[in-house]
């Protein structure tokens, strides 16, 4: 079987398109590269959607934590503490348990016991908590002068937030937020590893890497392939976030080295 055929059969296997049965014997390097790459689609799916949706919740929670009203501040603080203070391993366990119980009561929750929605929800809440802490830290460091200037220009309320506070906060938080994005993508490998069941052998990159490690009894081929994929993915994330960073900072004078933001938050 040529590599092109293998690619046609298995490139989309992780989402159920192509050959139904996984290869059983005569594993070639091509099999491993194609299938593990196919699984990577799930990692990208989980990571991207959780990051995008988590971004908005994180902004809201960061504002909540910075709020003077205890009704906003306390829940936000606790949310961040619980999700940042416990291993994802345990969060997945409880989430699966919870979704199963909810499913018995309300049928609406049925899809949540599947990874595509259930695990996504957990990752969404998890990354929201981590990002919120980063945004909160950045919010506190927004220069007072910027806000005074906004007042002087007659900005207030929503407009002040939208035009001044929020962009400055993002600019300050960006390097740490990049780290969070990297960690989130790495964390997606836990989904099928411990948390949620894999249906019809549709799993993520780690799932297929383990499949090959189990079949060939040789961990030194599939896991390095997986590692290489993730190094590439990480480079892509860094490139994309770097672009956005340039955009966020485009109004600043470029010749004087913009103060190199510190790597403050990571998971």
């Amino acid at each position: 079987m040529s590599c092109a055929e293998i690619f046609a059969d298995y490139a989309l296997r992780s989402i159920g398109i192509g050959e139904r049965l996984l290869p059983r014997d005569n594993f070639t390097l091509c099999h491993q590269v194609v299938l593990i790459g196919s699984g990577l689609l799930w990692n990208i799916y989980f990571g991207t959607l959780a990051l995008l949706s988590g971004f908005f919740l994180a902004t809201a929670i960061a504002l909540g934590k910075a709020s003077k009203t205890p009704a906003f501040r306390l829940p936000a603080t606790w949310f961040i503490f619980v999700f940042r203070g416990s291993p994802l391993f345990i969060q997945f366990f409880f989430a699966y348990f919870l979704f199963l119980s909810l499913k018995q009561i309300l049928p609406v929750f049925a899809p949540f016991t599947a990874a595509w929605l259930g695990a996504l929800t957990v990752l969404f809440l998890n990354t929201a908590a981590y990002s919120a802490e980063i945004f909160y830290g950045a919010l506190l460091s927004v220069p007072k002068g910027d806000l005074d200037a906004a007042d002087a220009f007659g900005f207030s309320g929503w407009r002040k937030f939208r035009r001044i506070t929020w962009p400055t906060m993002l600019r300050l938080a960006w390097p740490a937020y990049t780290n969070e994005a990297i960690f989130l993508f790495h964390a997606t490998t836990l989904v099928y590893f411990s948390g949620f069941p894999a249906w019809q052998q549709r799993g993520d990159a780690l799932y297929y890497a383990r499949y090959f490690a189990d079949k060939t009894f040789n961990p030194f081929v599939p896991y390095p392939i997986l590692a290489a994929y993730f190094v590439l993915l990480t480079l892509v994330i860094i490139a994309i976030f770097g672009r956005m960073n340039t955009r966020l900072n485009r109004h600043l004078p470029q010749d004087t080295h913009p103060k190199r933001p510190r790597m403050t938050m990571m998971r």
């Binding site: 291993p87 993730f230 990480t234």
Partner: protein, 277 residues
């Protein structure tokens, strides 16, 4: 009820708590050492060393820790045994790789097959610490690298003006001042390290999550005097409390250290302390 929690098997989970705590205590300074070496390499003038440092940071940071743990320990172990084999059995004539087997002479086994159990355990523990340290060392290196660049240039220029050598400037000016910039990142790393402990079982350390899963699972009366249904929920709840508590304590301690480090620094926090005093 109390009998359930005091079986010999439960003693294992209590030991595991101690193991995890000791491992964290040993890993943190080791990882910091790796991080320091990595950061120094990354900013070295000698180009190959600089590449080495940067490659270490980029590659190890880019790989999910699970993926790394799944093959790296075995590789590390084989690497050590191979070195020892070359050293202690120079006249061994058989190949080391026989088909799938990795065969070294008996004297090169790490630890020796006949070694008492505690040596085997300690060796496994040491390998786990080393693997953790290599992974988290890369993150620490990244943080320290950033921190070294964050130290105001003027400080270093002043040192040079005073006639300090490169080396003196590095150790007497840069290193003492970088910690305050590194601490937020390092604290975060510590929190991450705590939460990576459920992966310890991949490294052969039976950690608390492993035991919670094992002890909480349904126990059939045929194999135990203390049967019970699926209690994993409660064991995991206990773990949740443990991790949250540990995080809470860590946060308090790290806040104190930060306060202490900020004292007298030319930063916003340091200024605030000065005006408050």
């Amino acid at each position: 009820m109390i009998c359930y929690l005091t079986t010999g098997k439960h003693m294992a989970i209590y030991t595991a708590v101690a193991t995890v705590l000791i491992l964290l205590a040993v890993t943190a300074p080791t990882a910091l050492a790796f991080g320091f070496a990595g950061a120094m390499a990354a900013r070295a003038r000698f180009i190959p060393l600089q590449w080495l440092g940067r490659a270490y940071i980029a590659i190890v940071r880019g790989v999910p820790d699970i993926a790394f743990f799944l093959f790296f320990v075995i590789a590390l172990d084989q690497g050590f045994e191979w070195l020892r084999h070359k050293w202690s059995c120079p006249d061994w004539d058989q190949p080391i790789r026989q088909g799938n087997d990795f065969v070294v002479c008996d004297a090169a086994k790490l630890p020796l097959n006949s070694a008492p159990q505690w040596i085997h355990e300690s060796y496994g523990f040491a390998l786990a610490v080393l693997t953790f340290a290599i992974v988290f060392g890369a993150f620490a290196a990244n943080v320290l690298f950033g921190a070294m660049r964050a130290v105001p240039k003027a400080q270093l220029e002043t040192a040079a003006a005073y006639g300090m050598t490169q080396r003196q400037t590095f150790w007497r000016i840069l290193v003492p001042q970088m910690w305050v910039f590194a601490l937020p990142g390092l604290s975060n790393l510590w929190m991450v390290l705590i939460k990576a402990t459920p992966l310890l079982f991949l490294l052969g350390i039976e950690d608390i999550v492993y035991w919670a899963q094992e002890l909480g699972g349904t126990k059939n009366p045929r194999f135990t005097d203390y049967p019970h249904p699926d209690w994993r929920m409660w064991y995991f709840l206990a773990l949740l409390v443990f991790y949250l508590g540990f995080t809470w304590v860590s946060e308090r301690v790290l806040d104190r250290i930060m306060l202490r480090l900020t004292r007298g620094q030319a930063t916003l926090g340091g200024d605030a302390q000065r005006t408050a005093a």
